[in-house]
Amino acid sequence: MATLHQQIAEKFLAKLADTKCVDAEKIEKLRALLADSKKLKADEFVKVFSQSEGGDIK
């Protein structure tokens, strides 16, 4: 039986993917983070969310 933590993680990732605010690559990185049993730190999330390209003058 999955722990509550795992249940929440699965639903969270599915719902987050639906928001389109986070790309598939980041979702997978979050999945890997949440699958890890250790306690998660803010720095780890910052690292995942910070990987993106910038823009330019339009």
Partner: protein
């Protein structure tokens, strides 16, 4: 999960040496207070988890498994204290043995050391809540909602989820601040670019128009489209590239800084005042200050806990769980400090944005000063910029903001006093420069424009990236909170239903319509229960202590069911239903039997009546229960059904300890009398308190046994079974003979056994008493299997039997 097959305990708590045959069944341990029941629970819990709940938690400061786990006489030899458990793992279909020494609680010996067995045992070790003791039972019921929420979330291991939510929140706050800083930086670059280009709006059309005007002067082709790789100075000779100094642009940069300087005193005044107000609050409330100062420290410590030693100060704790609990309590006290922290960071971020703006203005001037060889001015601006860069860093963390009080009071920007004068002087120097030729002006214009466009583009990329990161982090946090709320609500709803169902089973006679309602809100969990359909009230409002005890156990069972589902196969219930009355205890047995048929409960009780109720309700049997009749520091628990009781009595007599021998005999007779009265259906005079004396119990058992043998002989005759008739007759006669012999010794029995008046007895006086009782009790046993004789069924018995059926007499006569 697991089931216990057998237990071997040596030198743990109050136990010297004890073996229990648990048989994967529900098991009851009874005995008076101080007889060692909880010691068994401690030992089993230790064997499974490496912890002893009684040595942790509130009121246990100074206690530890390593020091207080071993028997008091072997405290200095913890190697001698160990528990060996034979367990069965239903999911794996395997049995295993786990041996754990008090001297090395984290290194149990597991045989077989298969990885799946180890994983299953590691899971159990992570669940000390398999033990529910009396002192813990009401922690779910009679606590304020915030505490209940903590207790239940802790039981359900929700702290891991809380940690994830907290980390996501911190991440989104940080990325929010980073985005604000990046936006401010873009604005700064944008201003610098616009200032240089002398355009009011920054669009590609305006930008190209300004640039192409200079390119035309240089007879360079016009740039028709601004692409991401467009170079504004494309075509300029790379070998003879002009300096970046453009007089007109330089004058505008200096002027821009000079004009901004007038508004410096009022810059971010409100935010600075906000920080100062928060700092003042902390100063006037020292406890807040302490909580505030400890907050990040404790958070850090909490995240680092990986054993019973404090990671911050190396202080040893009984367990990591104990330490975490201590830190969490401290952390909860700093909630207000947390809000203060948010406020400080918000104002800090706002000031950072202003710092970036100012730095954006002074940096071009600094470069000009350096380029023009104005060392003093360059040094002044360089030092100021370095100072502002440090300030920017300090404003990003709460700890460092607290050290900025003096600076914020004195004017956070710390504008160099000589700035206005130096700016004026530098302006004069620039004005004194010869006008640049149109060609040189165009060249330097394009070079500087390209540099500033590059800065702006990089800032844009940074800002866009920060925005994407911020948006993702916010979406992640919001989504996680929404999912968490939905899941917790569903969980509480499920637990609430199970809790109500279980409680109704126990109280179906008077509260068959009982309902309960959880009210979850952020950080708390309200609980109201229905009182005789008069409405919902807090559990302690009207319900009795016994009912509250029942609620505690029911909520625990509901939570365990939610936590483990069908894998809830093992639990230790240490004296948890003492306040529940007799009628409801039968119902409690029904609950455990019907709703938890596959769960092995090890139940202790000091109440002999309750122990017997468990048997008569069919929850446990004689084989799956044990009774302690006392405890000594030398022997540990004294087991009532101990077959070696006669050896113990003889040994005591040999040592001249008549007193001890008589006490052991009396306890054994009490135990056997009660057991036989139950198994044979004897009829002592009923006592509501169940406190039967040996003097009334034993005669009724003798009378019943005689009657049963007589009936067995009569029934055998009715069926023409001469052999059984003869055997039953002989048994009856032998019983009478033994009883007569015992009566001969009655003078001694009365004094020594009944009235504890053994002062004048010698061992030779007492030996005949012992022999007489031994012979008498042997009349109630099977010679083959050594078990006690019983009737079945209990009501209107049809046969008289023993466990091996070596004794099996018909009690149902042939109908005439």
């Amino acid at each position: 999960m697991i089931k216990l097959e057998s237990v071997h305990i040596e030198e743990v708590r109050g136990i010297r040496k004890l073996d229990l045959d648990i048989r994967k069944e529900k098991f009851a341990i009874s005995g008076p207070n101080g007889s060692g029941k909880s010691g068994v629970i401690d030992a089993i819990e230790f064997g499974l988890t490496g912890q002893m709940g009684r040595l942790t938690g509130r009121g246990t400061k100074g206690l530890s498994v390593s020091e207080h786990g071993p028997h008091v006489d072997t405290a200095k030899f913890p190697d001698a204290a160990f528990v060996e458990l034979r367990i069965y793992l239903p999911e794996l279909g395997k049995s295993a043995t786990i041996t754990r020494k008090v001297s090395s609680p984290k290194k149990p010996k597991i045989v077989p050391a298969d990885s799946d067995v180890k994983a299953a045992l590691a899971e159990i070790a992570d669940h000390p809540e398999i033990t529910l003791s009396r002192r813990e039972i009401l922690r779910f019921i009679l606590v304020e909602p915030t505490k209940r929420s903590e207790e239940i979330q802790s039981l359900l291991k929700l702290d891991e989820i809380g940690q994830t939510r907290s980390a996501l929140n911190t991440a989104q706050n940080r990325l929010q601040s980073a985005h604000a800083a990046a936006t401010a930086q873009v604005q700064s670059h944008r201003n610098a670019l616009q200032l240089h280009l002398q355009i009011s709006t920054l669009g590609s059309e305006e930008l190209l128009e300004a640039v192409n005007r200079r390119r035309k002067v240089l007879e360079l082709p016009a740039i028709l489209e601004l692409a991401t790789d467009t170079k504004l100075d494309a075509g300029l000779s790379t070998t003879a590239k002009p300096s970046e100094f453009n007089k007109e642009s330089a004058l505008r940069d200096v002027k821009s800084l000079a004009e901004a300087e007038k508004g410096f005193p009022d810059l971010a005044k409100t935010e600075a005042a906000g920080i100062l107000a928060d700092l003042a609050r902390m100063e006037t409330d020292p406890s807040l200050l302490a909580a505030f100062q400890q907050r990040s420290f404790i958070e850090k410590g909490l995240s680092l806990v990986d054993g019973p030693e404090c990671p911050l100060c190396d202080t040893p704790w009984p367990s990591a769980e104990h330490l975490r609990e201590h830190l969490k309590v401290k952390l909860s006290k700093s909630e207000e400090a947390g809000k203060l922290q948010e406020s400080l960071l918000k104002n800090g971020t706002a000031i950072i944005e202003k710092v970036i703006r100012v730095t954006g203005l002074l940096t071009p001037v600094l470069k000009l000063a350096q380029g023009q060889g104005d060392k003093d001015f360059a040094e002044l601006l360089g030092l100021w910029k370095a100072d502002l860069d440090v300030l920017k860093t300090k404003l990003a963390t709460v700890d460092k903001i607290t050290g900025l009080k003096n600076r914020l009071e004195a004017g956070w920007l710390k504008v160099p006093e000589a700035l206005p004068k130096s700016l004026r002087a530098f302006t004069e120097t620039l004005n004194g420069k010869p006008d640049q030729s149109a060609t040189l002006d165009a060249q330097t214009f394009l070079t500087t424009a390209q540099i500033r466009l590059g800065d702006y583009r990089q800032g844009m990329r940074n800002s866009k990236a920060a925005d994407v990161a911020r948006t993702a982090a916010k979406a992640a946090y919001d989504t996680y909170c929404a999912v968490l709320e939905d899941e917790l609500n569903a969980l509480y709803d499920e637990v609430q239903k199970d809790f109500s169902t279980f409680y109704r089973v126990i109280n179906e006679d008077d509260e068959s319509k009982f309902t309960a309602k959880f009210t979850p809100s952020e950080g708390s969990l309200g609980l109201d229960v229905n009182f005789y359909e008069r409405g919902l009230f807090p559990p302690a409002a009207y319900h009795s202590e016994g009912h509250q005890d029942g609620m505690g156990v029911c909520l625990y069972l509901a939570l365990m069911k939610r936590l483990f589902g069908n894998r809830f196969t093992f639990s230790l219930l240490d004296d948890v239903v003492m306040s529940v009355d007799a009628g409801h205890r039968y119902q409690f047995c029904k609950l455990l039997k019907t709703h938890f048929p596959d769960t092995q409960f090890i139940i202790t009780t000091h109440d002999r009546l309750w122990a017997e109720q468990m048997k008569s309700a069919g929850l446990v049997t004689a084989k799956t229960s044990i009774a302690f009749h006392g405890w000594t520091i030398d022997s540990g628990p004294l087991v009532e059904s101990n077959k070696e009781i006669w050896d113990e009595i003889v040994a005591a007599l040999e040592k001249g300890k008549v007193e001890a021998a008589a006490a052991a005999l009396r306890r054994h007779l009490e135990y056997v009398s009660r057991l036989l009265a139950d198994q044979l259906g004897a009829s002592p005079q009923y006592r509501a308190d169940g406190n039967y004396e040996l003097g009334e119990m034993l005669p009724s058992v003798l009378k019943r046994m005689k009657a049963l043998w007589g009936k067995a002989a009569d029934v055998a005759q009715s069926w023409g079974n001469d052999a059984d008739k003869e055997t039953a007759g002989k048994r009856k006669a032998f019983l009478s003979a033994c009883n007569a012999a015992m009566s001969i010794e009655q003078w001694a029995v009365n004094k020594a056994v009944h009235y504890n008046s053994w002062a004048n007895f010698g061992k030779n006086d007492f030996k005949p008493v012992v022999s007489a009782f031994k012979e008498l009790l042997d009349c109630f046993r099977c010679n083959g299997c050594d078990s006690w004789i019983y009737v079945t069924p209990r009501i209107s018995p049809e046969s008289l039997r023993c466990a091996c059926s070596g004794i099996n007499f018909n009690l149902k006569p042939k109908s005439k």
